[in-house]
């Protein structure tokens, strides 16, 4: 069965169809632009990743070149200052407390050894981060 539809304003309908086509072509062009931008973004991200990796190597080298001792360790070599103690009345001797019962030591839990598997890049980074945080905590 064939239907006939009356179009009152044919020019307007034609204009709308043409403009829709034009807009869709713009969308397609936009799609290509986005693909191009994403490609550039990918390249830049890769470049940044390489730069950061190189930076990591340089920082590692820097760490080796710098003295290994922490400030606390260095302070051991400084001459010790004498403490000035003001004489006071003799303090009463501390009372001896009954010796506490020795705490029973628990046997260390057995560690189940897992088969070694190669560390992923993420695990390696996490371990390095934990190591640095631990060292920062010691400062």
């Amino acid at each position: 069965m064939t239907y006939f539809i009356r179009i009152s304003d044919t020019a307007e309908v034609r204009r709308m169809i043409l403009e829709s086509s034009k807009d869709l072509l713009h969308v397609l062009k936009g799609y290509h632009d986005i693909l191009e931008t994403r490609e550039r973004k990918k390249e830049t991200t890769e470049e940044l990743r390489n730069t950061l990796a190189e930076l990591g190597v340089l920082v590692g080298r820097l760490e080796k070149l710098l003295p290994q001792q922490s400030l606390k360790e260095v302070e051991r070599f400084l001459p010790k200052r004498k403490k000035i103690v003001l004489k006071k009345a003799e303090r009463p001797k501390a009372m001896k407390l009954p010796s506490a019962k020795p705490v029973e030591r628990q046997a260390p839990e057995k560690v189940i050894e897992k088969p070694a598997r190669p560390m992923s890049e993420l695990e390696r980074l996490e371990r390095a981060l934990a190591n640095i945080e631990e060292r920062l905590g010691q400062l």
């Binding site: 539809i5 309908v13 713009h26 936009g30 830049t44 940044l48 930076l55 820097l62 070149l65 260095v74």
Partner: protein, 72 residues
């Protein structure tokens, strides 16, 4: 009382200085690349927004066409 200064021996001073300069350079490069990435992200966001606007226009026109053709 102030703490006396501590002098620490650095064996490879020149090497250290060179490495520090290289670190500085790499940091600058990373900063430039990050700025470029931010610019590209903004560009992509702009393109997506334009895309959305175009699609909205097409949608509105399609609705108008639908009205013109199928509404009595």
């Amino acid at each position: 009382m102030e703490q006396p200064p501590i002098f620490v021996k650095i064996d490879q001073y020149k090497e250290l200085s060179k490495t520090l300069a290289a670190v500085d350079q790499k940091l600058k490069e990373a900063s430039v690349l990050l700025a470029e990435l931010q610019r590209l992200k903004a560009e992509e966001d702009g393109q997506l927004a334009a895309w959305q606007a175009s699609l909205d226009e097409v949608k509105a026109r399609a609705a108008e066409l639908h009205n013109a053709l199928f509404t009595k």
